[in-house]
Chain length 172, copies 2
């Protein structure tokens, strides 16, 4: 059997250094990988071009904004929205509002565009029930959830004592 | 009555050229204005410094990323999330999924961090019931909803025939 006839092996790691994530049908997941990893693994660009583009992206993070958002852009956007929701959630919400927030988080987990991120979020919520009884409780719960992801991605943890200053009011 | 004793009038327009939005308690709304408008109207920076910072922001849009997100950042993030949800919504969802999406959009409208944007979104949904029976229907409905906001903000409308290319697969 000549090596030329061997099927191409699907790459396991992208140029970002992260594992390539596949959908359940075996195709690379558009919303679970960085754009460049996805483009490389689907053969749209060569590994060499991907490395160059990755360097350019570091210098100019705006350069890919007109492409469908990748896993990182979706992640950043979603944390921005969720933390801002915490920042405007009532200090002392009534029970209807608390139920609504729990329901919103559950549906958010079901609709989140990156399936493996969604699985992680749902499993975090099973182990750590969302705390929704005050704004402070929810802001801290969310900060802890975000930190769990930070650790998984090798990013520094955020000191949750400062969640309000970061997401609500820079003077607090 | 000397003019020195007259109360300071709350500004109506910010340096962004947009109307300043106030919360129902009369205070400037942190999540409904641009960061610089909010800083200026709350006296954190002078109008002159705000104009300079606005120019800097145009040159380097990343320069304010560690502040609590303003109305524009929350808006961009939320559209990114919503369009990505459309891009991964099943092509032909079952009735449970359709109900869930309607419920998610309703709660999204209730929790959206900028109250006047949320009011607009909810009123759009009342007049234009979300179309959730296929991915294509939802993607177009959302694109139309986004365009309604684009028009309000004086931004160009997006051609919704291309929603998949913009938000799902750049090769479609």
């Amino acid at each position: 059997m000549s090596s030329q006839n061997a099927p191409l092996k699907a790459p396991e790691v992208g140029i970002s250094g992260k594992k390539i994530v596949y959908d359940k049908d075996g195709k690379p997941c558009r919303t679970c990988n960085s754009l460049l990893d996805f483009q490389m693994v689907t053969g749209k660009i060569s590994p060499g071009a991907a490395v160059k583009a990755q360097q350019k992206l570091h210098q100019d993070p705006q350069s890919s904004t007109d492409f469908p958002p990748d896993v990182e852009q979706i992640g950043r956007s979603s944390w921005t929205l969720l933390h801002s929701i915490a920042a405007t959630y009532p200090e002392v919400p009534d029970s209807q509002k608390q139920q609504d927030l729990k329901q919103f988080l559950k549906l958010f987990g079901n609709f989140y565009p990156c399936w493996f991120c969604a699985d992680d979020f749902k499993s975090y919520m099973t182990k750590n029930e969302p705390k929704v009884s005050t704004q402070e409780d929810f802001g801290r719960w969310l900060c802890d959830a975000h930190n769990e992801v930070n650790v998984k991605l090798g990013k520094p943890k955020f000191d949750c004592n400062f969640w309000r200053r970061r997401w609500k009011d820079e003077n607090e």
